[in-house]
């Protein structure tokens, strides 16, 4: 029986709440409605209004009370309805969620999971398609994870909830309906490790979240041209699996980073910087970046021109191989 990414995450939430009655799920419209993407569907019915509840419309309030609940002893999962609506919570995330454990010299633990559907490609209006991962990955104290498959949707969500560190859990919303025939529950690699989704010899493609599938498609298309691409799913954006990244480049000598976020200071910048720092003599070409442009996320009718796609990746593969 096929399971979608959304269903896998939903199942992970259910199983985690079943396993530990300290786990709470809350946010805007997560109760009766089951979330605008139905990822929390059925949780309120099953666990009652106290363990899965709708909050007032206030994101700073959601994250701030999650911190208080965690201090009290709960393991809160808080949903931000969309990527572009996490910004009101920025101060609570950056100044407290990320820093309070360190500030307290380790006495305060904040096992909080912030779920954020993110990324574009669904024809939405403004603020509903953003990729804010750089903001979080630059902020020390946060862990940032993003699944690229339904299996990881399940297993990484369970790991995030179990983590005693605060986790920003980025859900690639355009892949919510992506299917797999995984049997849940499922275990996958430790969350801080990248995974080679496809082995290859010519160029390494580093990707995550929504771009994992796109990178796999690019690798298929490249094979037709006779190019062998290695696809590495990063999974964890903070910490970054530097070792895994460097190991792949040592094999292929070439690297391209793929993400939807704008190029400047996107994850591609950090990955390029690390690769050239650590594998300088292995590089046969510069690390290239197939990303969104340095402009605000475009209107729906133009998003296909903005988002990285197979063609943009292949152009860069060609450029890389030309070195």
């Amino acid at each position: 029986m096929a399971v979608t990414l959304a269903q896998a995450i939903n199942q992970a939430l259910k199983d985690a709440m079943e396993a530990n009655d300290r786990v709470l799920m809350f946010g805007e419209d997560v109760g009766k409605l089951g979330g605008v993407f139905r990822v929390t569907d059925g949780l309120q019915d099953r666990f009652g209004e106290q363990r899965c509840f709708d909050t007032p419309l206030a994101e700073s309030g959601i994250v701030g009370t999650a911190i208080g609940l965690a201090m009290y002893g709960y393991r809160p999962i808080a949903e931000m309805q969309f990527d572009g609506f996490t910004y009101p919570a920025f101060e609570q995330i950056v100044s407290h969620l990320a820093k309070m454990p360190n500030r307290s010299r380790g006495t305060v633990k904040l096992p909080v999971t912030i779920r954020i559907p993110y990324g574009g490609g669904i024809g939405a209006v403004e603020h509903h398609s953003e990729s804010p991962e750089s903001y979080w990955a630059h902020t020390a104290g946060l862990k940032v994870m993003t699944p690229g498959t339904p299996e990881d949707g399940y297993a990484m969500m369970r790991a995030a909830i179990d983590s005693d560190d605060p986790v920003i859990f980025l859900e690639p919303k355009r892949r919510y309906w992506m299917k797999s025939d995984a049997q849940l529950p499922v275990e996958t690699e430790p969350t801080h490790r990248s995974v080679v989704r496809r082995e290859g010899t010519d160029v390494s493609l580093f990707c995550y979240g929504p771009m994992v599938r796109t990178a796999m498609e690019a690798a298929d298309a490249a094979a037709d041209e006779g190019w062998s691409l290695e696809v590495v799913d990063l999974r964890s954006l903070a910490p970054l699996d530097t070792q895994g990244i460097v190991a792949s480049v040592e094999r292929t000598g070439r690297a391209i980073v793929v993400h939807e976020a704008a190029s400047t200071l996107g994850m591609g910048a950090e990955i390029a910087a690390r690769i050239q720092e650590r594998a300088f003599y292995h590089l046969e070409a510069p690390v290239l970046r197939a990303t969104g442009f340095d402009t605000p996320y475009p209107p729906a009718k133009l998003e296909e021109y903005w988002l990285p796609n197979v063609d943009r990746i292949l152009d860069l593969v060609e450029r890389s191989l030309a070195y």
Binding site: E28, D29, G31, K32, L33, G34, V36, D54, T55, P56, L57, A58, S60, G61, G84, F85, Y87, P88, G123, A124, V125, E126, H127, S263, F293, D294, T295, P296, P298, P299, A300, K301, L302, E303, Y305, W306, D311, R312, D315
Partner: protein, 378 residues
């Protein structure tokens, strides 16, 4: 109690009884569903017959265009649409109380207010089509860009109102947000600033009972939303939001007060969202048909028609004329949207900066090459 003298721990109270800032026990209501009028000395109506017809006409056109937008969405012409059905009186009555020079800072649901300001409705809907992120000139009609991040526009209205006050420019800025929006920090900060600055700003809340699926009692424990106003030192008004005469009259009074330099006001208009939150929403998950049927009985348009009938201002000619006009605006919108061009992808780089200083040269060249390549390939 002892005499405290100039004890700073007992701050002086302003002369007026602050309780005057509280809303009345019952919302202002001037018109029953059956068209019966309830004159109210505090809210005298200064509307001429044509204006009464005009209010009705605006509501009918709003509903027609709103319906057209829902159809366009169903036909794949809009990505999504947030209907204002049921809220026509709240929007039309309040916007009608403004002068042309006054400004409106809307959320995403203010089609009715936009039509009062004669904003090009097709242009407006391009936001929902995704042609561009907005497509009307805010300065042409003093109607700001529709704002999607909840409540944020309240601060823009406040800054604008402050600017007007600094300039002794007798205009007023009105902002719309929803019952859910009252929970966000931004409207709170906006009302704080407006209160301190005595800025001519009207905070008009359409309490349509829901924020998507979340009902009002999960949003706040306040006795009413209008009870928030006193916390900012401004009056909190409450009005039957499905009564266009009342929303007009209450807003008018608040606007005149603000224009006279007496500062901001908060208006809670009680209404009901008759449609889904947006076309993507499934309201059957969180509200009953009974509730909807009950709400339908308070329809703002039927009510106004009953008034016109009662006053002898409604006849077949008027009906035909208004229907034709509504149809013609709807057709205009449909023509403006249907299969409208997607625009030039190169525009992505055009408006990010007034002075990009060469910033986009490379990325623009890349997109240009991609476009040429895919044309070549086709």
């Amino acid at each position: 109690m002892s005499e405290h003298g100039s004890d700073p721990t007992v701050a002086p109270r302003s002369g007026d009884d602050p309780r005057l800032l509280l809303p009345p026990d019952e919302p202002v209501h001037l018109l029953d569903p059956d068209g019966t009028e309830h004159p109210d000395a505090d809210h005298p109506l200064d509307l001429r017959d044509e204006q009464l017809r005009e209010l009705y006409r605006l509501m009918v056109v709003t509903r027609k265009v709103d319906r057209e937008a829902i159809n366009l969405q169903r036909q794949g012409q809009l990505g999504v649409y947030a209907s204002c059905m049921g809220q026509e009186a709240a929007q039309v009555g309040s916007a009608y109380a403004l002068e042309d020079d006054d400004w409106i800072f809307p959320s995403y649901r203010e089609l009715g207010a936009a039509l009062v300001r004669e904003v090009d409705a097709a242009g407006l809907l391009h936001l929902y089509r995704g042609t561009w992120l907005s497509d009307h000139d805010p300065y042409a009609h003093n109607f700001g860009l529709m704002s999607i991040p909840i409540g944020t526009q309240a601060l823009h209205a406040t800054g604008f109102g402050m600017g007007a006050r600094f300039d002794d420019n007798p205009i007023v800025a009105m902002t719309y947000f929803g019952d859910g929006g009252t929970s966000e920090g931004d409207p709170h900060e906006a009302m704080t600033f407006a209160g301190v600055q005595k800025a001519p700003v009207i905070f008009f809340v359409q309490n349509n009972q829901y924020a998507i699926s979340v009902p009002l009692d999960k949003q706040t424990a306040a006795p009413t939303l209008a009870h928030k106003a006193i916390g900012y030192g401004m009056p909190g008004y409450r009005v039957d939001g499905n009564d266009v005469l009342a929303t007009y009259a209450v807003t008018k009074r608040a606007v005149e007060r603000a224009r006279a330099g007496e500062g901001p006001a908060f208006i809670e208009a009680l209404t009901y969202r008759m449609e889904a939150h947006t076309t993507s929403d499934d309201p059957t998950r969180y509200r009953t048909k009974d509730e909807l049927d009950e709400a339908a009985k308070t329809d703002p348009i039927a009510r106004m028609k009953n008034l016109l009938l009662a006053r002898g201002l409604y006849d077949d000619d008027l009906e035909r004329e208004i229907d034709e006009q509504a149809q013609s605006v709807a057709t205009y919108v449909r023509d403006g949207i249907y299969d409208a061009d997607h625009g030039d992808p190169m525009e992505l780089f055009e408006h990010v900066y007034v002075d990009p200083s060469g910033h986009f040269d490379e990325q623009a060249a890349q997109l240009r090459a991609e476009l040429d390549g895919s044309e070549g390939g086709a």
